[in-house]
Amino acid sequence: MKKTLFEKIWERHIVDTLPDGTTQLYIDRLYCHEVTSPQAFAGLRERGLKPFRPGRITCVPDHNVPTLNQDKPIEDPVSRKQVDTLEKNATDFGLAYYGLQHPRNGIVHVVGPENGLTLPGMTIVCGDSHTSTHGALGAIAFGIGTSEVEMTLATQCIMQRKPRTMRITLDGQLRAGVTAKDIALYIIARMTTGGATGYFVEYAGEAIRQATMEERLTICNLSIEMGARGGMIAPDAVTFEYLKGRAFAPRGAEWEKARVAWQNLYSDEGAVFDKEVHFCAEDIDPMVTYGTNPGMGIGIREAIPSLDSIDEAGRISFLKALDYMGFRPGEPMLGKPVDYVFLGSCTNGRIEDFRAFASIVKGRRKASGLTAWLVPGSRQVEQQIRAEGIDAILTEAGFALRQPGCSACLAMNDDKVPAGRYAVSTSNRNFEGRQGPGARTILAGPLVAAAAAVTGKITDPRTL
């Protein structure tokens, strides 16, 4: 029987199957952050339970943390209570905890891969939809709600329906100046924001095989933005090279054993997917969004769609989105003024993103009047930025580096874009109010963000 990568991993984790097909799925790794876990721990205590397998759980505060003065107590008492609650829960139950100032602190989806906590063949969950990120290493990783966090704490299992499978094949090679973020925004624009709902996606094809590990993390991260339960990429030499020597990755003889097992993690030739989609990498331009969901994206040189190109049922939502953004149908995006730039998040907060941003701003100056928040995805990324001298390039161009966290991606801390202002953001969502009440978000990759940061407007980075 030919099997897909997804099926191989899924079947290995079935504890039990109910008559109606519902699967009791074993979970190898649970990541907890401070926002979606307190009610789960409270529920656990109410039932008089303890975590069933504490060694499989890692707790990292990231959503609510300030990106300045992390050595001082968090000023906002409500945020501080949430972070303290996570620390207390981790301490009481003997769970790994990487708090602020800890060398492994950062955004949980950056921390997991970079420490080798996320490994091929695993099942991984977290109360966060961008858990799909970890699929880049060849794992089944998906976001869950707080009730499911509680289930996983209590039993290391959750009850799930097996999703359908989809393979998205990206043939050919990317053109210069096009990033992994552009690949994802291009795919989502074509699939629409709900187009992969009910599916688990495997990314394949020449352009995916050529992608670095960090680029793969960016692509899998955004799977949820087309509704997919998760995204994954078969592990290969790129994956093994990335993982070898990382803190929690297997070592010595264990490493060799694991690597041999991981080499069987691929979709068999002739395995059948419920849906197959093909795209061509050469067709992709740097992308920007113009609306209020990540599916509303276009090539940076294109115009916003005209009203008559939108199907009738979607016109109310389309016009509502443009009204919120202060844009008109048919307008070009190039040249639109930009007030804020955010580089960071679990989508684009890794070292390659900072290298890309620095490559554009080097020798230029931050546009006057523009506010830029450059937020590393983790302490380790921050350290590497300094080690490579990228911080000096940024400082010379008028930028300042902040401390790690989710930051302006969802604006739970002080990093909020004011109402009516435009932000070019390397994060994952441009929903109304996502970056602050009334904030207007244009999603893009790190090169487009850098071009906006030095020109103060939407600019094709290839023309600089």
Partner: protein, 205 residues
């Protein structure tokens, strides 16, 4: 043990927008609580209230004409963030069911884990339902979970809806997954003993 769900007849609140994401249902700045209570007050916060906290008269929750236990929404309801706070906000406000032509996966699971029934209907049934409500705000809808049917009382038309047998059983009897999983613990331990795995222990170091 949670509330049980069997048959519900109620008027509806219409929200004919597509792709309503969980950031609209409950904005991130209201996620700082450590309990499940109080989220209903901020349901659809930025559509419901202006910057100074005054109700926006144009938004459906501020129009006394529309009330009831059932929210009827456009396709792809609950997309985006996995925050279960969205389900808590909807139940906290008083809704017991949401009807749409399709739901985002995580939201759907979160709803059912909180006794909130997501009912998937055909796009045709949905647009007819919106038309009925527009013509008469008093239009009643009957959801019969044991029979898996939904009836628009204005037109008398019914449609069957899908739900998996396990989840239906949980909702009808007010049980949750943890009750089931805890009763199944021996199977989990047996699974662990059979599956050899590299060392996965994590530490705080």
């Amino acid at each position: 043990m949670r509330n049980t769900f069997t048959i519900l007849t109620s008027t509806c609140v219409p929200l004919p927008l597509e792709n309503v994401d969980t950031d609209q249902i409950i904005p991130a700045r209201f996620l700082k609580a450590t309990t499940r209570e109080g989220f209903g007050d901020n349901l659809f916060r930025d559509w419901r209230y202006d910057e100074s906290g005054h109700p926006r008269p144009g938004f459906v929750l501020n129009q006394p004409t529309y009330k009831g236990d059932i929210l009827v929404a456009g396709k792809n309801f609950g997309s985006g963030s996995s925050r279960e706070h969205a389900a808590w906000a909807i139940t906290g406000y008083g809704f017991r069911a949401v009807v749409s032509s399709f739901f985002a996966d995580i939201f759907k699971n979160n709803s059912m884990n909180n006794g909130l029934l997501p009912v998937v209907v055909s796009p045709e049934f949905l647009s007819e339902l919106f038309a009925s409500i527009e013509a008469d705000a008093g239009t009643q809808l009957t959801i019969d979970l044991p029979a898996q049917t939904l009836t628009n009382q204005a037109t008398g038309r019914s449609e069957h809806f899908d739900i998996n047998a396990y989840k239906k059983d949980c909702l009808v009897n007010g049980l949750d997954d943890i009750d089931y999983l805890l009763a199944n613990k021996e199977k989990i331990e047996r699974y662990e003993s059979l599956v050899t795995s590299y060392k996965l222990q994590v530490t705080s170091k």
